[in-house]
């Protein structure tokens, strides 16, 4: 089990705002790593840097020791990093099945038969609980279904690592339970490494092997979930500094 994704001294500024400031991190193969921090901590920016939406100002990103610097989003996807978006971005005017097919085609091009692709897309829709929605347009499904569709589309690119950006937000308790089971299943059965941003602490604590905490663009803490929640710096980042 080696290091899958690694970042060294990653920084990114937008004008005068430093969104990510000298962050070092790594994700081991087969791990589930939680990425937490208050709003504006730079978590989604870090995702965007890893997936090549924009390049870092400085620092090195590697995936399986291959440099990600200068690669475009689609090239990074083809290396094996898939993602979902915090504000969901399904292809609204396409059917759910077509949404998933785009992921399959994106990763491998036209190598396998149409029938084979359709079958794989249907299988992914089944494990994400979308089997009845094949012919529905993505604009006509609920937000929760859209989130699942994004997971299905990301899985369709046959990734080694998947970055999930707040898949739990807006879910009720039983839906959250299902989502956690899905995440566990993605790791145990599909053998995919997971890095996920989440605000729902219970879910992060229960499902992550390790947690990275960010605040104001910096990594302030990293460790086992139990250790992180009781850390003074983490509590301060979320609740503000104590006067004592």
């Amino acid at each position: 089990m080696g290091i899958l994704i690694e970042g060294k001294k990653i920084s990114k500024s937008f004008g005068g705002l430093t969104a990510v400031n000298g962050v070092d991190f790594h994700v081991m193969e087969g791990e589930i790593v939680g990425l937490i921090g208050p709003n504006g901590a730079g978590k989604t920016t870090l995702f965007n840097l890893i997936t090549g939406i924009f390049p870092p100002d400085s620092g090195n990103l590697t995936f399986q020791e291959k440099k990600l610097g200068g690669l475009k989003s689609f090239e990074i996807c083809r290396l094996g990093i898939a993602r979902t978006f915090q504000i969901v971005r399904p292809f609204l005017k396409m059917t759910c099945l077509e949404n998933v097919l785009v992921g399959i085609i994106g990763r491998e091009g036209g190598t396998s038969s149409q029938k084979d692709k359709n079958e794989r897309a249907r299988r992914l829709m089944k494990i994400t609980g979308l089997e009845r929605l094949e012919t529905r347009l993505a604009k006509d499904i609920t937000l929760i279904e859209k989130k699942r569709l994004e997971v299905a589309r990301a899985l369709a690119t046959a990734p080694q690592a998947i970055l999930l950006d707040e898949v739990m937000a807006g879910l009720n308790l039983s839906e959250m339970q299902q989502a956690m089971e899905l995440i566990e299943m993605i790791r145990s059965e599909l053998k995919i490494t997971i890095l996920w941003i989440e605000h729902v602490m219970g879910a992060i604590m229960k499902t992550s092997d390790r947690v990275i905490v960010m605040d104001q663009g910096q990594k302030i803490m990293e460790g086992k979930p139990e250790a992180v929640v009781t850390d003074r710096r983490v509590i301060e980042a979320y609740l503000g500094e104590s006067d004592a």
Partner: protein, 308 residues
């Protein structure tokens, strides 16, 4: 394909084959022009309706095709049958270049850039009168030794059907799927492994080449190539055909081309105002019935429960 579709197509083809023997020379001319617009509107729709690149340079590429072939045949005495493919290549290459320029642009910026390009082409053609004979127009040789509208009609029909078939194949292939993904959300498409730049460039190049082919044929049919071909008036007519017929659908621009071309023959006395009228109708359709005439048709079918 469903049996009904096959039946319709066969009947349509039979009717199309009989038209030259049923119509007057005047209406045969209208049919030929309509087929030119079928090629123009269908290929523009592939670019604008399927990849979201609303280009205003489509008529300019038809002009490039028409003038390339026209000048080669007039100045060098080369057969138009060779000139037209060269015009297609010239339009395709220029399309690739313009598409490349527009890679980082979307929406209104892309439209404005292509509008500027279109005007540059028209102005160059108008002013380089040593080569193009400017507004006087370039007299070009015909494609057949013996002039016959029937011959031209069948040639235009064959090319239009072939082009429509290629477009149909494309939009129902994986390429079509990736094009629609790019249209829906470029960032998400790229994050799903789609090379969005390649998709956009391919669409730009292919559709520009198609416009070049349409323009080349048109020029050798009229036997007089003028800067009207690469004009914005022409462009807006093509746009109106696609929008009124139904952008983003396969049949929409074909229907739109026939409806508007035939209609414009009836309101010919209005002169240039007919483009204005079509523009206003297109605006109203874009606002109130964005799926165009084809939208009415599919809605009606859905209401009757015929949708599959």
């Amino acid at each position: 394909m469903k049996p009904a579709t096959v039946g319709f197509s066969a009947a349509g083809l039979a009717l199309a084959a009989l038209l030259p023997f049923l119509l007057s020379q005047y209406w045969l001319h209208v049919m030929i022009i309509s087929l030119f617009y079928v090629m123009m509107a269908s290929s523009w729709n592939l670019l604008a309706g399927y990849t979201g690149q609303v280009s205003f340079a489509h008529a300019a590429f038809a002009g490039v095709g028409a003038y390339t072939s026209g000048m080669i045949s007039v100045q060098l005495g080369i057969s138009p049958w060779l000139g037209i493919p060269l015009g297609v290549a010239a339009a395709g290459l220029l399309g690739l270049g313009l598409g490349f320029l527009c890679i980082r642009m979307g929406g209104i910026y892309l439209s404005l850039t292509t509008l500027g390009f279109s005007e540059i082409i028209r102005i160059v053609i108008t002013n380089e009168d040593k080569w193009t004979r400017g507004t006087m127009g370039l007299q070009t040789p015909g494609l057949f030794t013996e002039y016959s509208k029937t011959f031209y009609y069948f040639l235009f029909l064959a090319v239009a059907i072939a082009m429509a078939a290629i477009i149909y194949k494309l939009i129902h292939s994986e390429w079509g799927l990736t094009m629609r993904a790019v249209l829906n959300d470029e960032v998400a498409a790229s994050a799903s492994g789609i090379n969005t730049i390649r998709v956009r460039l391919l669409a730009f190049t292919a559709t520009s080449a198609m416009a070049g082919l349409a323009g080349g044929l048109y020029g050798h049919y009229l036997m007089l190539v003028t800067p009207d071909i690469p004009s914005l008036g022409q462009m807006f007519l093509v746009l109106a055909m696609a929008v009124i017929g139904g952008m983003g659908s396969f049949a929409g621009p074909i229907v739109g081309a026939f409806v508007l071309e035939i209609l414009s023959e009836y309101i010919r006395s209005w002169g240039e105002y007919h483009v204005l009228v079509f523009g206003l109708i297109a605006l109203a359709m874009a606002r109130f019935a964005p799926e165009g005439l084809m939208g009415f048709w599919t809605k009606k079918r859905e209401n009757r429960g015929h949708i599959d």
